[in-house]
Symmetry: D2
C-alpha cells in the first residue's frame, strides 16, 4: 500500500508502506476519507511547530474514515463493508490519568501523526490501516467525508464540554478555521443564546454565519468591534479562543463579563495577558486539549442530523493529488476543510 | 375591568376588579394572552392542592402577556403598544436568598396567583395589570400567545440548567404535559444526544415527538418499556421528572446510569424511593422550583427561533368563555396548552 | 493458615484456608489488624442483608492492614516488614465506568467479603493474603490498627468529596457509628464551620463530640431537636446521612436550607421522602458508595496527623476470640470500632 | 475626630475629620484596631498603583474593628460596647451582579479606601466610623486585633472557595505576605493534604510553616526547587498565586498536574504565560477578587478557633505613630501584619 509520508518541510511523498494483518481484537480498514488538519500543515510547511520537530519520516493524518475490510479474532459488532470513523486517540488505559478518566492526558499516548515522542507516532494517511476494534465507530447513513469530520468535531465538542452548561449563554468565538466553525456549531447545539464570531479573513466568517453565528466580525476591518462589548464590565459569558493568537485572547478577555470563562483551544506559544482584568473580573481561563470520549458522540451527532458538518468540507481531492491538496489546504481565503479521497 | 376570580372549587367568576394607575417605575399593561397552568386547574377543580388551600377569593393566572398601555414616571425602554411578556416572579430583592442570587427561594415572594401566604397573592388573569417595568420583557416579532409561553418555558429552562451540561447526554423525560414537552424542547436545545419521553396518554407523547424526542413511550400500554434501559447498571444520564408521579420517578431511577442525575420538577407529595439504588449508583436527585433569571432568556429563545413553542398552544379561547376554557384545559387527551385571549 | 469464614447466620468459624504464593506484581502480606464493619455483622447475624444473601461459605472482612512478607516478581517500592494498609477495592480497570474514572461503579468489581456475585468474593480476614502490589499503601509511623481504619475513613472521605466544597458550611451528620464519626472528622477537616451530629444512643454521640462536632443530639431523648433548624427555610448546607434510617433522612431534609445537599451514605431500603420539600427547596440528594482513589489519601491523612482515628478504636481482640469480637461489635452502647488482632 | 489621610506619596497625615451621627439602621463605632494592607502601602509609598492614582486626599484603611458606641434607629442585635469586625465591602445591592449573588463585582461598589472612582471612597482609618448595622459582625471572645484580621482572612477564604473542594489536594502557595499565609491557613483548614509555600524572603516562609505548610521554599536561594514537581506532567492540584509576580505564576504552572487549577489572587499587571502548557495540560486559571459573604464566616472561623490568625499580627502601633507604622509595614523581612491601635 501507499502512505503519505512527510520527510521534511515541503517534502511530502506517497511512499510504499508495509501491509499489516489484523491481530486479535483488531480490524483492517480501507481508508476512505482523510481531512487535512492544521498540524498536518505545520509538518508539511515547516517540519513541525514550536519545539515539536520532525526527526524521521512520518506518515501524516489523524482525521480518517474507512471501510472495514477484515476482522481479527474475537471482533464483534463490525462487519466487512461497514463505514467507520477511526478514533486517532490511543491512550494506554493504565496510567494515572487514564485511570482518572482523563485519557487525553495519558502519559503514553499514541495519537496518530505526532512527532512529539521519538520514534514518532505514525499517522493514518495510509491506504489501509490496522486499528483496534475499539477505535472504530460505525458511521451509518453518512458519507465517508462526514465520518472523517468526527475527529475535528470531537475537538470542538470537548471544548464546549470544558465550558460547562451553555443553555442561554452569550458566546464569543475567536478564530474561524474548521475548529472555530465546529465550535460555533457545537455552541449553538449546546443552547447558546448569542454567538459572535471573529476572524481576520472573510471566508471563514461566512462559514461561521452558516454554522449559526448571530454576528461575524472581521477584526482586520473592524479593529474595535469587540470594544463595545466591554461596557458594564463585559458582555460574554464564554470566549472560545480557537485562533491561538494573543490579540484575540486579549480582546476577548476585555469583552467577558465577571466570572466569564475562556476556553483556550487554539494552540499558541507564550502570550501576554492582562492579569489585572483576569483577577478583578474573576475570569476562568481553561485549556482544552484534544478529546477522547467525545469521538463516538461526534459520529452520533452527525448521524442524527444534530450537527451538520457538510458545509465545512469545501474540497475533496484524490490521493494522487495529495501534495496539491496540502498546498491548497493552507489557503484560508478559499478553503475551510480539504479532504483526501482514498482509493 | 374584569378579573377571573376563583371563589371555591368549581366556582370561577369574571368579577369586576378595581382599576389601577402605574406609579413610578411601573407600567400599565392591557393583558393579551393568558395560559392556564396546572396550578390554576388545581385551584379551580379542587380549591387548592396538598396543604395549600383557598381561604379567600383569588384571581388566577401567572402565564400572561400584554401590550403596554401607560408608563409610570421614570420608565424607559418601553413604549405604549409594545407587546411584553410579564414575569410573574416578584421576589423581595433583600432577603438572604435574593442576595445570594437565588430569588426563587425568596422569603417574601409574591408570585402571581398563589394561595400559599394569606392574604393570597392575586393573579394576573385581569384585563389590565399594573406591573413593575422590570417584570416586562419586550416580545418583538412573536405572538401574544408565544409571549405567554415564556413563563412555562422558564420553568423548563430552569430545570435544564439545574441538570448541568447536556451536550451529548441521554435524557429521559417522564410526564409530557406542557412542562414536560417544554423540557424536551429545552433538552434538545441544550444538546441532548438522545431523548426518550414517557406519559400515560398518547396525545402528549405526540407532542413530545414533535418537540424532538427520539422515542415516546406510553407506559400504560408498555409497562416494562423502561426496564431494558436498566441493563449494565443503566442507560440515561438524566431524568427530568415532570409528572409528579412516584411510579415515574421509581422507573426512571432504575434506568439511570451510575452518577446519573434526576431533576424533579413535577410537584408531588411524599414518594417512596429505592434508596439502595440511589446510594449504590450514586445518583443525584435535584429539585427544580420555578425560575427567575430564565424569564427574559425564554422570550429571547422564542424570538430568535431557537425554541418553537407554537405547536404546544392547542387551544385559544376568549375571555368570555373562560370557565369553558378551564373545563377544557384539564382534558389531557386533547389539550396541551389552553390560553385565554383577553379583550 | 486460618480464615474467618461465615457459613450461615451465627455460624462463624476459623477454618483452615489454602496458602498462596505471590505471582508477578503481587505481594504476600501477613495480616495484622482487621476492623469489623457493619456489613460483616449483617452476614454474621443475619446471613446477609436485603436481597444479598450468603449462598456458600465466605471469608469476611475488608478493613485490613498487615506486614509485607514476600514480594512477587517485579514488585518495587515495598520491602518485607513494611506495614501496609490494603485496599479491598479491586475494580477491573477496563469496563466503561473504570475508564470514566469511577471505578467504584466497576461492572466486575471484586470487593473483599461480598456475597453480591456468585461465587462470592472471599474476604480478607485471613492470616495471610496475596494482594496486588497496587492494593498496598505503605503506612509509616502509624499503628496496624490505624492502618486498618483507612478503609472506613475512605468511605467518609469519598462522601465528603461527593458533598463538594465544605469550607464554612453548616453540616448535619445523622447516625454516629464509625462511618458517621469518621464523616464528622472528615467534615471538620474539610473546613465545616458548624457540625451537628445525631444518633439514638449516647455513646456514639460522645465520639462525635470528640471528633469535633459542635453539638450532639440524642433524637430518642430530644425528638424535636432538629425542628428548630427548619426556621427561615432551613439552616444546614449539608446533611450527611450515615444511619440508613428513613426518619433521620426526613428530619434532616426539613433542616436543610434551599439548595442544600444530602449525601446519603447509610445503606437502607426503600424510604418515603417529602418530595415537595425536595422540589420546592431545590435540594440535592446524592448517593455515596464506597470509594476508590481515596484509599491512599486516607492513609496519608492519618499518617500526617490531619485526621485522628485512634479514639474510634475502642476494642482490639485476638484472632482466637473472633466470634466473641463479632458478638461484642454489635453493641452500639459500648463499641465504636472493634478490631481483630491477627497472630 | 482624627483620620489618617494620604495627600500624596509619602504624605500621610492625621487630619481632623468631621464627626457623624448614625442614621436609621446605622451604628457609630469607635475604631479599635486597623490593619495596614498592601494597597494602603501602595497609596502611601507611590500615590497609587497601576492606573489607580490619588486625585484628592483620601482616608486609608479597610481592615478595621471597633466597639459599638451608639445605635441608630431600628438597629437590633447590637449593643454599645460590642466588639465588631467591620465589613469594608459596601455593594449597591441592586445592580445585575449584586442580584446574581456576586456583590464583589458590584457596578457601584463603595469599598473603603479606594481611589478607583472619583470622588474617592474614603477609608476606615478614622477614630470613629458610622457604618450600616449590616456591616458589623459581632466578634465575641477574640481581640480587636484578631477581629481586624477578618478582612484579609475573607480574601483568603474567598480564594480557597474559588478553588473548589480541597480535601486531600496538593497545594502550592506562591507569595507569603499576609494574604499568602492566610491562604495557607485556609487551605489547611479546607483539608489540603500537602501544602508547599514559596517566597523570596525567609521571614514570610517561617510564618507559612507556622500556618501549617509542609514545606517552605525560598526561590531566591533555591531557584529550581519547583522544577522537580513538573515530572510526570506535574504534581500540584492547585496553585494559589498570592504574589502578583509573573515568575511565580509561570513556575507554578509548570508544577501543576493536568486539570490543575490556578487561583490568581495576587494583583499584578500584564504577565506572559506559557499558554501551550495551559492548553495541553487543560489547566484552569481563575481570578479571585476581594470577597463578600465570607466576612462573617471569617469572624466565625477565628472565634471558634478553627483558624488562628494571632501569629500573623507581628506589630501593633499606636495611632499617634501611624506614619512610623506605615514605614515599618513595608519591611517584609521583619513584619507580617502591622496594625494600628486606635485611641
Amino acid at each position: 500500500m501507499r502512505a503519505l509520508v512527510v520527510h521534511a518541510a515541503k517534502d511530502l511523498r506517497a511512499d510504499d508502506w508495509q501491509d499489516e494483518a489484523p491481530g486479535p481484537g483488531q480490524v483492517l480498514v480501507r481508508t476512505a476519507a482523510g481531512g487535512i488538519c492544521g498540524s498536518d500543515l505545520h509538518y508539511y510547511h515547516h517540519g513541525g511547530f514550536g519545539t515539536v520537530r520532525l526527526k524521521e519520516p512520518m506518515v501524516l493524518g489523524h482525521e480518517v474514515s474507512g471501510r472495514v475490510a477484515e476482522l481479527g479474532a474475537g471482533v464483534t459488532g463490525l462487519a466487512p463493508g461497514d463505514l467507520v470513523a477511526i478514533n486517532p486517540s490511543r491512550p494506554c488505559g493504565a496510567c494515572r490519568y487514564c485511570r482518572e478518566g482523563t485519557p487525553n492526558h495519558c502519559m503514553d499516548m499514541r495519537f496518530y501523526g505526532s512527532a512529539m515522542p521519538f520514534p514518532h507516532i505514525q499517522g493514518a494517511f495510509r491506504e489501509a490501516l490496522v486499528v483496534d476494534a475499539a477505535q472504530c465507530v460505525k458511521a451509518e447513513g453518512i458519507t465517508a467525508g462526514e465520518a472523517a469530520m468526527a475527529e475535528p468535531l470531537s475537538v470542538a465538542l470537548h471544548a464546549i464540554r470544558r465550558a460547562g452548561p451553555l443553555l442561554g449563554k452569550r458566546v464569543l468565538v475567536t478564530g474561524c478555521g474548521p475548529i472555530g466553525v465546529l465550535t460555533v456549531l457545537a455552541a449553538r447545539r449546546a443552547g447558546a443564546a448569542e454567538i459572535v464570531a471573529t476572524d481576520i479573513e472573510d471566508q471563514p466568517l461566512t462559514h461561521a454565519m452558516t454554522a449559526g453565528a448571530d454576528r461575524a466580525v472581521n477584526v482586520m476591518k473592524e479593529a474595535d468591534a469587540l470594544a463595545g462589548y466591554g461596557a458594564d464590565k463585559g458582555h460574554f459569558d464564554l470566549l472560545c479562543e480557537a485562533s491561538g493568537a494573543q490579540a484575540a485572547l486579549v480582546a476577548g478577555i476585555g469583552a467577558l463579563r465577571p466570572r466569564g470563562v475562556v476556553v483556550q483551544l487554539g494552540l499558541g506559544g507564550d502570550m501576554t495577558l492582562p492579569m489585572m482584568q483576569v483577577t478583578a473580573k474573576e475570569l476562568e481561563l481553561r485549556g482544552s486539549f484534544r478529546f477522547h470520549e467525545e469521538f463516538p458522540l461526534a459520529v452520533e451527532m452527525i448521524a442524527k442530523g444534530l450537527i451538520d458538518v457538510k458545509p465545512l468540507i469545501t474540497h475533496t481531492i484524490g490521493f494522487d493529488d495529495a501534495v496539491k491538496a496540502f498546498e491548497l489546504a493552507g489557503d484560508r481565503s478559499r478553503v475551510m476543510k480539504a479532504q483526501i479521497a482514498f482509493n
